[in-house]
């Protein structure tokens, strides 16, 4: 008699009111969520918890599966709305006080029964809150790993500068995972575009140590095996001095300080020159006059 789910059922409206009041005083974020939505979520959750508690007091049991599913949805939508995991947990934890109050005010309940029911209800709600935080964090991890993958894709664009000339502007840290992507995308781009020259620009790479140098040398060697010449550009003065002190041998690699220099060299190798259009026009006119 007077188990906590029965008490909740009997006092549903007052508990709901107490819960909403509790949330309003502690962690109400009216900037992120409307009152109507919150009330609807609270009503639904209270109904699910009460139904599940009829058959079981273990929040991990089958009886609570629909409650857990609902909490998963709540966690996801809360994260998307910009709530913190703590705020999401407080949503459930603030249900404890009104439930305890209702149990306390139940007529004819023995002290032993009261303590037992408060403990049971407390444990159930705590476990559900922990589960929700877990869901929230999992959801966030999912977003992070998706962003990492996107970044890996985005961070290694191979661009075509001219017919037969590719450029690979590298930005950020060159760890092994990224170097692999860099090498693959460069080599496949060389084949696809039928390029003779590839320029690797390291202006955006903050530190060039032996590992980075080794990765670069391997990429350049692989490109050379495929018949393309590789130039290395964007070598800043500080990096140049550091490479010398480290003793890295880049003698076999064609290097340039700026991407523009490397591009100019590439055009020369291809037998192209850049001329001033106005002067060309003038000289052609002169020839025509003569």
């Amino acid at each position: 008699m007077s188990s906590f789910h029965e008490v909740i059922r009997k006092n549903e409206s007052s508990i709901l009111a107490g819960w909403l009041a509790e949330m309003a005083s502690s962690n109400r974020r009216s900037d992120l969520m409307s009152d109507a939505e919150l009330r609807q979520q609270a009503t639904e959750l209270l109904r699910l918890v009460t139904n599940a508690a009829e058959t079981s007091t273990d929040p991990m049991s089958e009886a609570f599966s629909s409650t857990r599913d609902y909490l998963k949805d709540i966690a996801k939508s809360r994260m998307e709305q910009g709530f913190s995991p703590a705020e999401t947990a407080l949503f459930i934890l603030s249900l404890k006080q009104p439930v305890f109050n209702a149990l306390r005010d139940t007529a004819g309940i023995s002290p032993t029964k009261l303590v037992t029911e408060i403990l049971t209800a407390g444990t159930v709600l705590d476990r559900l809150a922990v589960e929700t935080v877990n869901n929230a964090v999992e959801f966030r991890d999912l977003v992070i790993s998706r962003q990492q993958e996107e970044m890996l894709e985005l961070s290694t664009p191979v661009v075509k500068l001219w017919e037969g000339v590719l450029a690979l502007p590298l930005i950020g840290t060159l760890d092994s995972a990224r170097t692999q992507v860099v090498m693959e995308s460069l080599l496949s781009a060389i084949v696809e575009t039928n390029s003779q020259i590839a320029i690797i620009d390291i202006t955006g790479v903050p530190t060039v140590d032996t590992l980075v140098a080794q990765h670069l040398i391997k990429t350049i060697t692989a490109a050379r095996l495929m018949g393309a010449d590789c130039y290395l550009s964007g070598i800043r003065p500080a990096i140049a001095q550091t490479i010398v002190h480290l003793g890295i041998d880049l003698v076999d690699v064609q290097t340039k300080a700026k991407l523009a220099d490397a591009f100019a060299l590439a055009l020369t190798r291809l037998g192209k020159t850049v001329v001033n259009a106005k002067q060309v026009a003038k000289s052609t006119n002169k020839r025509e006059e003569a």
Partner: protein, 133 residues
């Protein structure tokens, strides 16, 4: 004389990037020139990677040191890994037990002003380097 010190763990490849940023921050605070900053950061990267890959993880202590009017940064890399059997060989250019270029240790020595290495087989390795401003 040590004016300030801090310890950072090196247990994953993310930590190599992190201690590198720490070294850059300290060097910038001390107003190292850009070249000196780059040298310090590169040596940090090499030694931290050694600690991780050969020493199976360890830690880096960074200290702001003063010697008379001179100030500098001292870095100590410690690990409890297998140790180095032949230090003289390990410091030779191009010698490597892994798959790298074999320039990390010798290169770091050239990038820094002071370099000291202590190692005991089976006990671990401690590398202490200092770059003066």
């Amino acid at each position: 004389m040590v004016l300030k010190s801090d310890v950072h763990p090196i247990v994953g490849s993310d930590d190599v990037v992190r201690v590198r940023q720490v070294a850059r921050q300290w060097a910038a605070e001390l107003k190292f020139s850009l070249v000196d900053q780059t040298k310090l950061v590169t040596a940090t990267s090499e030694l931290a990677r050694n600690t991780l890959e050969h020493g199976k993880g360890g830690r880096m202590r960074v200290e702001l040191v003063e010697n008379g009017a001179r100030r500098g940064i001292r870095l100590t890399f410690e690990d409890e890994g297998p140790g180095i059997a032949n230090i003289e060989l390990a410091l030779r250019d191009g010698y490597t037990t892994g798959s790298g270029l074999g320039l990390g240790l010798s290169g770091s020595k050239r990038l820094m002003n002071e370099f000291d290495i202590k190692s005991e087989t089976g006990r671990g390795t401690t590398v202490t380097v200092t770059r003066w401003k």
